[in-house]
C-alpha cells in the first residue's frame, strides 16, 4: 500500500504538443481517485506515466515515497487493468492471472492460493481452465481485475475498464470494482470519461481538461461547489444550464436580469459574495433539478415562464428542453405527473439557493 505523488508533471510529445501541462496531485494511501475528463484531456497519459508506459518529460512521480521516474514498469509494483483487458489469448485464465507471480518466481503453492483467492472474490473460480476467447466481456473484465489483485501491488491503475461493456454490465461491474476496493483497500487511480463512474466510485474526483487539473475534490463537493464553468458543465447529467445575465443593484439587494425581461432576486445570503460583480455581465448557472415545476414555500424560489420545445418522459421524471433569448439547449426536470406539451407555455420554479454565478471571461465560479 502506498501514496502516489505527482509533482509538476509534464508530458510533451514530438512537435511540442503538451498532453499534460504541469499537474500536481497527492493521492493518499488506500484512496480511490478517479481522473475524469473529455477525450484528449491528458488523463490516460497521466495514468500511463504513473505506470511507466509513457516517459515523463518534466516533473516527478513518487510511489510510496520513492521517485519512480527512471524505474521500469516491472519494478514499480503496480498493476494495471486495460480498456480492452489485454489478456494473453494463448494462456488460460489461471495462467493469465498467475503470469505476474510466475515471473516473480513465487512458489507454486503460493501462486495457486492467490489465484484461487482472487477467483473467489471475483466469482470466476469455474473459469480458470478456459481461454479468454471462451469468456464474455464481463468475465474477461473480471479476469483482468484478477490479474491485478493476485499481485497485491502498491497501486492499482484502471484505464477506462468499463467502456467496452454494455450499459447494464457496466453498472454491475462498477459495483464489483467498488466492492473489490473495499475488500483489498489498495490505492487506486482510475481513468474514465464517464462522470457517473467518477461520481459513484471515487473518494476524490480529479477533473482534467486540456492537460490541466480543473478541480480536485469529493464527488459531492464537485457537484455542489464546482470551481469552474468546465467542472460545472461536466459533472451532472443533464448538464448545468448557463444563461447570460446582468447583476444589478436594487435597493440594498441584487437582481439578476436575464434575457427576455426575466428578473430574478439573488438570495439574501449570497448578496455579500456577489457584491464585487455588481453591474457586470455574468453567467447564471442552474442545474436542471433546480429548475422544476411550480413550487411554493421558500424565499429562494423564483418563477420563470418558458415554452417547451421537446419533452422527454423518463419514467421517474420528465425532462423539458427549451430556450430563452441568448441561451439555447436549456433543460428542466419536472415531476412526471405535471402536464407539459411542446409549444404550450408553462411556469417553472428556479431554486436560487442552488444557483451559481460565473465570470464569463475567466470561467471561474464567483
Amino acid at each position: 500500500m502506498a501514496q502516489v505523488s505527482l509533482r509538476s508533471l509534464v508530458k510533451e510529445y514530438d512537435g511540442g504538443v503538451q498532453a499534460v501541462k504541469g499537474i500536481d496531485l497527492e493521492i493518499a494511501d488506500h484512496e480511490f481517485v478517479v481522473l475524469v475528463g473529455p477525450s484528449g484531456c491528458g488523463k490516460t497519459t497521466t495514468l500511463r506515466m504513473i505506470a511507466g508506459l509513457e516517459e515523463i518529460t518534466r516533473g516527478e512521480i513518487a510511489i510510496g515515497g520513492t521517485v519512480v521516474n527512471d524505474i521500469p514498469p516491472r519494478d514499480r509494483d503496480i498493476a494495471m487493468v486495460f480498456q480492452n483487458y489485454a489478456l494473453y489469448p494463448h494462456m488460460t485464465v489461471f495462467d493469465n492471472m498467475a503470469f505476474g507471480l510466475l515471473l516473480r518466481k513465487f512458489p507454486r503453492e503460493e501462486i495457486r492460493r492467490r489465484v484461487d483467492e482472487a477467483a473467489r472474490i471475483l466469482d470466476i473460480a469455474s473459469l480458470l481452465d478456459r481461454k479468454p476467447k471462451a469468456l464474455s466481456g464481463g468475465q474477461r473484465q473480471r479476469v483482468a481485475m484478477g490479474r491485478a489483485i493476485v499481485r497485491n501491488p502498491k497501486v492499482f491503475l484502471f484505464d477506462e475498464p468499463l467502456s467496452n461493456l454494455d450499459a447494464k454490465l457496466r453498472v454491475q461491474m462498477r459495483t464489483e470494482i467498488k466492492k473489490v476496493h473495499q475488500t483489498v483497500k489498495t490505492t487506486t487511480v482510475y481513468v474514465t470519461h464517464d462522470q457517473v463512474e467518477a461520481m459513484t466510485l471515487a473518494d476524490r474526483v480529479v477533473v482534467m481538461n486540456h492537460g490541466v487539473i480543473e478541480q480536485v475534490g469529493p464527488p459531492q463537493e464537485l457537484y455542489h461547489r464546482p470551481a469552474t464553468r468546465f467542472v460545472a458543465g461536466f459533472i451532472g447529467s443533464p448538464a448545468m444550464n448557463f444563461i447570460p445575465a446582468r447583476l444589478e443593484a436594487a435597493s440594498g439587494a441584487l437582481n439578476l436580469h436575464l434575457p427576455g425581461g426575466i428578473v430574478l432576486p439573488v438570495p439574501e445570503e449570497r448578496t455579500g459574495r456577489y457584491e464585487a460583480a455588481k453591474g457586470r455581465e455574468v453567467l447564471f448557472g442552474i442545474r436542471p433539478e433546480h429548475l422544476t415545476e411550480r413550487r411554493e414555500g421558500r424565499a429562494t424560489y423564483a418563477e420563470i415562464e418558458i415554452t417547451p420545445e421537446v419533452i422527454e418522459p423518463m419514467g421517474m421524471e420528465t425532462l423539458v428542453h427549451f430556450h430563452l433569448d441568448g441561451a439555447r439547449d436549456l433543460c428542466a426536470r419536472l415531476d412526471p405527473t405535471v402536464p407539459a406539451a411542446p409549444g404550450a407555455p408553462i411556469r417553472l420554479t428556479a431554486d436560487l439557493a442552488n444557483m451559481h454565478l460565473l465570470d464569463p471571461q475567466s470561467g471561474r465560479v464567483l
Binding site: 516491472r74 494495471m80 494463448h90 515471473l103
Partner: protein, 310 residues
C-alpha cells in the same frame, strides 16, 4: 406471390416441372455448378499431373510395359538415391531453420526502426527475394569460382586460406545452403514483420507491468502470438525448399560426385538427362509422403490454436 408473403412460385410450378428441372433448381446442384471452375482447375493442374506421374512411375524404362513398383524397388536399393534423400533433408531442414532464424532477427530489427526509415530498409532487404534465383545464383557461382572467387579474395585479406566452395562435397553443400538462405530469408522476414505488427501493443505493456523482461516478453508474448505464422511459413518454405531445383542446377549441377543432388535435380537427371522418365517420376513422388506428414502435423496445430485464440 400469395397474400401471406411466402415464396410459392416453385411449388405452383412443381407439378409440371420435369425431374431434370427439379435437379437444376436444387441448392446443391447450383453450388456444384458454381464450384465447377475451381474443380476443373484442380483436376487439370493438380489431380491429372499427379495421377499421370503415378502412372508414369509404374512403367518400364521404354514405357511400353507396366512394371508396377519396380522403379521404387530399384530406387530403395540404390545408394545414390539414399544420398539424395539424406542431402534433401539436410538441405531443407538446415536452410529452413536458418531462414527462419535470420528472418525473425531481421523482422525484429525492422520492427523497432521508426516507420519512416523502415520502408527503405524493408525494400533493400527484399531485393534477394525479388531477383530471379537462376540469375542471382549465377552471381553466387561467380563469387564461389575457384579462380575468381571474391569471397576467397576477402578471406585472403584476413589470412584465411582459399576455400574450395564448389569443388569439395561438404563445402558444396554449405554453398548451396548459403545461397538458398540468402534468397529465402527475406520471405520469412516479411511474413514475421507482418505477424509482429499484428501483436497488440497492450499485450507487451501488460507483460511489462506483470514484470517481464525484454527476453521474457519475446518468450511468453511474441513467440506464442506468432506461432501460427511461424508454422505456416515453415511448412510453406519446407515444401518449396525440398523441391528446390534452380539453385543446385546452376551452382553445382548435383556435383561433386552426385553429392549435392536434391529430389528435383536428381529426378531431372534421371528422368530427362538419362532418359528414364518412369524412374524420374518415381524419384519426385518420394517427396510426397515426407511432406504430407509435415503438413498434417503443422496444419493440425494451426487449426487447434485458431480455435482457441483468434
Amino acid at each position: 406471390m400469395p397474400a401471406d408473403g411466402t415464396l410459392a412460385a416453385p411449388v405452383s410450378a412443381a407439378p409440371r416441372a420435369s425431374s431434370l428441372q427439379r435437379l437444376a433448381r436444387r441448392r446443391s446442384t447450383i453450388a456444384f455448378v458454381m464450384t465447377l471452375p475451381l474443380i476443373a482447375v484442380i483436376a487439370g493442374l493438380v489431380a491429372y499431373p499427379a495421377g499421370y506421374a503415378i502412372y508414369l512411375s509404374m512403367l518400364n524404362r521404354r514405357m511400353d510395359e507396366f512394371a508396377w513398383f519396380l522403379n521404387y524397388e530399384i530406387l530403395v536399393e540404390s545408394e545414390t538415391f539414399w544420398l539424395v534423400v539424406w542431402q534433401s533433408c539436410l538441405f531443407a531442414v538446415t536452410a529452413v531453420v536458418l531462414k527462419a532464424l535470420i528472418g525473425f532477427w531481421l523482422a525484429h530489427m525492422l520492427h523497432h526502426i521508426p516507420t519512416k526509415g523502415q520502408r527503405k530498409w524493408r525494400g533493400m532487404l527484399l531485393v534477394p527475394w525479388v531477383i530471379p534465383p537462376a540469375l542471382s545464383t549465377l552471381g553466387w557461382w561467380w563469387m564461389f569460382d575457384p579462380t575468381y572467387s571474391s569471397i576467397n579474395w576477402l578471406l585472403a585479406i584476413i589470412a584465411v586460406p582459399p576455400v574450395p566452395w564448389l569443388g569439395e562435397p561438404w563445402w558444396a553443400r554449405v554453398s548451396v545452403i548459403i545461397v538458398n538462405v540468402w534468397y529465402g530469408a527475406p520471405f520469412f522476414m516479411i511474413m514475421y514483420l507482418a505477424a509482429l505488427k499484428s501483436v497488440p501493443e497492450q499485450l507487451y505493456e501488460a507483460a511489462a507491468i506483470d514484470g517481464a523482461t525484454g527476453w521474457q516478453r519475446l518468450r511468453y508474448v511474441t513467440l506464442p502470438m506468432m506461432r501460427n505464422i511461424i508454422s505456416i511459413t515453415v511448412l510453406f518454405s519446407l515444401i518449396v525448399t525440398f523441391a528446390n531445383y534452380d539453385i543446385v542446377r546452376v551452382l553445382t549441377n548435383g556435383g561433386p560426385r552426385d553429392l549435392t543432388h536434391l529430389f528435383a535435380t536428381y529426378a531431372f537427371q534421371v528422368g530427362i538427362l538419362s532418359g528414364n522418365i518412369p524412374r524420374g517420376a518415381a524419384v519426385s513422388l518420394f517427396m510426397l509422403p515426407l511432406l504430407a506428414v509435415f503438413a498434417f502435423f503443422i496444419l493440425r496445430g494451426v487449426t487447434r490454436r485458431n480455435k482457441e485464440m483468434a
